[in-house]
Amino acid sequence: MCFCKDCQRRTGSSGSVHAYYPEAAATVDGNVKLYSQPGDTGCLVNFHFCPDCGSTIFWTVEATPEQVGVPVGLFADPTFPPPTNAPFVPHKYPWFSVPEGVRQNEGHSEKFLAGAAAALVQRRIK
């Protein structure tokens, strides 16, 4: 789950809940429209949304190119596994409680920041 303000505006909810899959595990059926935006690390996030209803279908992140982010709500399955990480907790709505056992971070996780730094180096090399 993510509480950052970009996720708030994108979802219209108090935050995003999403699942990361290996890039090879996800295929696309139907039309998607691309919206790219640099995140606060400078790395691009490429959101793909349905042009008919606006729902974000998936995204890829320059910092973690091996993964695809998929909004959990798209599965429309209340038994979907619970989240494990919660970045940007300072932007959390006070009425929302992060479940026990979920790793909380003030911003991005260290792993993500390391990926972002590596991606920016790669970009300079190219």
């Binding site: 979802t11 619970p82 709505y93 479940p99």
Partner: protein
């Protein structure tokens, strides 16, 4: 930002009796999509704020629930941009027309057919964790199993408002 200070010029908001908050009646807030091209301005306080666990809200937000603030139509103006409309049926049996940004996809507001005088605004579009808390949650039978909302939020198994009778 909500103002919480006692004083003669402050009016408690009508239907949204948020505890410990006294709001300026002419409070102005802007709700925007992710890319910032589509912006609406909401004056005054919302009549209600609601979490919705329905599967349509899950698919729209991509999150595990939607959070909506309902304003009277005349409280809401479009400040910037143009929207793409998406009309769908609702679990309540009624329909809703949602308005999203064609550039980034964020839904910013919608018009529920059964509440024609109201506009639902996506609370996340205000990007303000200090926005007043929701007082109710609908469709809790679709709530994700790991989720626990505060007891103060009154839960309904389905919709809290009965669909308006059709002619």
């Amino acid at each position: 930002m909500p103002v919480s200070a006692p004083g003669a010029d402050f009016l408690r908001s009508g239907l949204h009796a948020s505890a410990n908050r006294i709001q300026l009646r002419d409070m102005l807030r802007e709700a925007a999509c992710q890319c910032g091209r589509l912006v609406i301005r909401c004056s005054g306080e919302p009549a209600g704020i609601s979490v919705c666990h329905c599967l349509d809200c899950q698919r729209r937000t991509g999150s595990v629930f939607g959070v909506a603030a309902f304003f009277a139509k005349e409280q809401v103006t479009i400040a910037a941009g143009s929207s793409t409309a998406f009309k769908r049926g609702a679990d309540s049996g009624s329909s809703v027309t949602l308005h999203f940004c064609g550039t980034c996809g964020s839904t910013v507001w919608w018009q529920p057919e059964r509440l024609p005088a109201m506009v639902g605004v996506a609370v996340g579009a205000f990007a303000d964790p200090d926005f007043p808390a929701p007082l109710q949650a609908t469709w809790d039978k679709r709530q994700h199993r790991w989720l626990h909302l505060p007891d103060e939020i009154v839960s309904y198994p389905q919709s809290a408002v009965r669909a308006a009778p059709r002619d």
